[in-house]
């Protein structure tokens, strides 16, 4: 069963698989609801209903990520395109899975570069980017980077 931070990860995987070089995600949590937006510059060959299970242009056995997002958000999701950018937006009840921001975001930033995630919750804002992680030697793919990554997230 996917939690909310898993849905963000699914969305970022989707962007990476579309060849996106720039992925900007935002998570806004307010009054028990989470609104997640992901915008990227990937190249998609979208089917007529990208949220249908198995709907994909990526090959057999794929195309479940957007379906899961559709299910978990009870249909409160949309995918729009324009000016070379694709935006995926969905809403779901907050399940607390972003409370540990480091655990939620470590797999996201392990997906590659060009990623920015902004989390707005309880009046606070955490903004993390691949560029910042490079700058602070905090790419979480080895012991020292993981240590720096966790310290950075706690300090934001």
């Amino acid at each position: 069963m996917h939690d909310l931070s898993d849905l963000l990860l699914e969305a970022v995987v989707n962007s990476v698989e579309a060849g996106a070089g720039v992925i900007e995600a935002s998570v806004e949590i307010e009054d028990g609801m989470a609104r997640i937006r992901i915008e990227d510059d990937g190249v998609y060959a979208l089917s007529s209903d990208p949220f249908q299970d198995g709907s994909t242009t990526k090959g057999e056995g794929r195309g479940h990520g957007l379906f899961i997002i559709h299910e978990r958000s009870s249909g409160r999701c949309r995918l729009t395109r324009g000016d070379g950018r694709t935006q995926l937006e969905f809403m779901a009840e907050d399940d607390g899975s972003f409370s540990d921001a480091a655990a939620a975001l470590l797999p996201v930033f392990g997906m590659g570069g060009g990623i920015t995630v902004t989390i707005r919750k309880d009046g606070g804002v955490k903004k993390v980017s691949s560029a910042l992680l490079e700058e602070r030697d905090a790419v979480p793919d080895r012991a020292e980077g993981i240590r720096n990554f966790r310290n950075l997230l706690e300090g934001l």
Partner: protein, 126 residues
């Protein structure tokens, strides 16, 4: 000893060359790959990855690099691959939190393959 065909020899050489490259990624001798496709995420691969990352950091295993890849279906997920100069490629299946702890302490730290977690990798055609 049975003779190998030319194509079999090519395959072995190609595989060993790939393994050699994996032995020194960014100066790290041990490469851990966690499958993070949709089926892996659904099976708990995020917790698996975070557990491995936590333990590698706590134990200070500076020779280990951790990366992620896509779906490992139809294998029992979460799937974790470990490449090391001593053992080559070892694939583990159904790697929950407890299994992740064991892989780090027994294989990554102590260099012993965790036999009861090891799987033979299957492709979609099998």
């Amino acid at each position: 000893m049975a003779k190998l065909s030319l194509s079999e020899l090519h395959e072995i050489r190609s595989r060993e060359e790939r393994n050699l490259k994996k032995r020194d990624i960014h100066g790290r001798s041990v490469h851990v790959v966690v499958a993070m496709g949709t089926s892996g995420i659904d099976a708990g691969a995020k917790l698996t990855l975070n557990t491995i990352a936590d333990d590698v950091e706590k134990l200070g295993l500076e020779n280990v690099i951790i990366t992620q890849t896509g779906s490992a279906a139809p294998n029992p997920e979460p799937v974790v691959e470990v490449y090391s100069p001593q053992s080559g490629l070892v694939v583990y299946g159904s790697v929950d939190k407890e299994a992740a702890h064991r892989i780090v302490s027994e294989h990554l730290r102590d260099g012993r393959i965790v036999d009861d977690l090891r799987i033979e990798i299957k492709t979609k055609e099998q």
